[in-house]
């Protein structure tokens, strides 16, 4: 192959991509090696490609609306593959005597050492470590800012503030159930705190969700960290942090904290609520923590 007088732009571009083969590749490489002009052109072309590749990944303003998939696909997607997959399975033998998963959860919380339940506060659930193993440390203290229970979780703390809860999200049509069989999450924990511990209708409540990385980095799905309020069978999304860009990964022993102001009761009025935080991982699993909350 004759390269004369220089490597063409088209060949150089293909050469940068490594899609030139055989004699053509040898001829191009030989010429570039011996030609200062073409070496410089190659360098600039690589830099141009690197510039495009260096563009930061931006988070979606909101997730794609999957309503077009129809009822089954729109209501659930990642959850069905991970968190809800267990619903279709037979429960393990040790669960058999227990009436409901929620009861199991409450029992595990009550039995687990190191869990701090503030008197008068109604904590029904806690992080992955406690739920899956039943013997973890740490827990939920609904009265104030919550420090992570994970040891050494002090570096790279990220905080995300959101002043007003977007309550426009459609309620999830089927009630969530709590799994006691989370996929192994390598010590990743999730906690949820509300302040004050109970509220009047329309009172502003400060909610804090903290995800703490475990033994290894965990990639988050695009849904990231999300917060919900359940009242009866209706569940409303309160907001969250999209799992992309800066928050695409929960790093080992890192804390990801999300603060949101919730108007207690919203449009549903007084009653018993369940506040729910979910951390959606890229492998399809979901970590969940629940907090019973009374709006008077």
């Amino acid at each position: 192959v004759n390269i004369s007088p220089h490597v063409s732009d088209e060949l150089l571009s293909a050469y940068v991509d490594g899609v030139v083969a055989g004699e053509e590749a040898v001829a191009a490489g030989t010429h570039i090696f011996s030609c200062a002009d073409c070496s410089r052109r190659l360098e600039l072309l690589r830099a141009t490609r690197a510039a495009v590749q260096s563009l930061p990944v931006e988070a979606l303003p909101r997730p794609i609306d999957l309503a077009f998939l129809g009822g089954d696909g729109a209501a659930t997607n990642a959850e069905r593959r991970g968190f809800f997959a267990w619903l279709g399975r037979r429960p393990p033998a040790w669960l058999a005597p227990v009436a409901s998963a929620a009861t199991v959860l409450a029992l595990l919380v009550a039995l687990a050492p190191g869990i701090h339940v503030t008197p008068g506060a109604s904590t029904v659930g806690t992080g992955q470590r406690q739920i899956s193993a039943g013997l973890g440390s740490g827990g939920v203290e609904p009265r104030g800012a919550l420090a992570s229970s994970a040891p050494g979780a002090t570096s790279n703390q990220k905080n995300f503030e959101q002043g007003v809860a977007p309550l426009a999200a459609a309620p999830v049509p089927r009630p969530y159930q709590v799994s006691s069989q989370f996929p192994a999450a390598g010590g990743t924990t999730l906690s949820l705190a509300a302040s004050p511990a109970s509220a009047r209708v329309s009172q502003s409540v400060q909610l804090t969700v903290t995800a703490t990385g475990g033994d290894s980095d965990k990639n988050l799905s695009s849904r990231g960290l999300q917060l919900y309020a359940r009242h009866g069978t209706a569940e409303t999304a309160l907001g969250g942090v999209s799992g992309s860009g800066e928050t695409s990964t929960l790093r080992s022993h890192e804390q990801l904290t999300f603060n949101i102001s919730w108007t207690a009761g919203g449009n549903s009025g007084s009653g018993s609520y369940t506040l729910i935080a979910r951390l959606f991982l890229a492998d399809g699993s979901v970590l969940e923590v629940q907090l019973a909350y009374t709006v008077g």
Partner: protein, 187 residues
């Protein structure tokens, strides 16, 4: 479950499987749309349209990775949207009449990551035609192969090679004009 398995289920009409695929890749697809269109709301709308189109056509999807297939649909959807706004421009114009992209305020990610550099690269991309932008971004941002781009855009392989070279050349020229330091920093 990997993409290929989910795609096979999607072909048989399994909506939740398709939803998982969308969720898994929506960030990359959104960023492709964002860089072609230059506007966040436009990009989100285009991605939404592309997802609906893809779901309607997934039964006929034959082979290839989901992300590549979906990237092509997103790119075509974005080009169509630009065409709709500027109907007098010809897609076959190899030199590509430049359709101005709107300026936009940088998001927090951009602010955090060398704002000036990012804006300069965005300005460079704006100097390209919609199709040139699409082909550069499909290759360099989303990592599609020449074959995948050719299949996705419905053009011969040689055309991909020549158009990509022209687009890169034009982008390089623009970057050297607006901020030569960018290429030196990347080199």
């Amino acid at each position: 479950m990997d993409d290929a398995e989910l795609l096979e289920l999607s072909r048989r009409g399994d909506g939740p499987s398709f939803g998982v695929l969308i969720e898994r890749h929506q960030a990359a697809l959104y960023n492709l749309a964002l860089r072609i269109l230059g506007d966040r709301q436009d990009a989100l709308d285009a991605l939404q349209d592309a997802c609906v189109k893809a779901w309607r056509g997934v039964a006929d999807q034959r082979g290839g990775a989901f992300r590549s297939w979906m990237s092509s649909i997103v790119a075509r959807t974005c080009i169509d949207r630009i065409r709709a706004r500027h109907p007098t421009d010809s897609l076959d114009d190899e030199e590509g009449r430049v359709i101005p992209l709107p300026d936009r305020e940088p998001g927090p990610e951009v602010q955090a990551l060398a704002h000036d550099r990012v804006r300069s690269i965005e300005r460079g991309l704006k100097a390209l035609s919609a199709e040139q932008r699409a082909i550069v971004l499909m290759r360099d941002l989303n990592g599609l192969s020449y074959e995948e781009i050719a299949s996705g855009l419905g053009v011969p392989l040689g055309t991909v090679r020549s158009r990509l070279a022209r687009a890169r050349g034009r982008l390089q020229m623009e970057l050297l004009r607006v901020d030569p330091g960018i290429l030196e920093a990347q080199a």
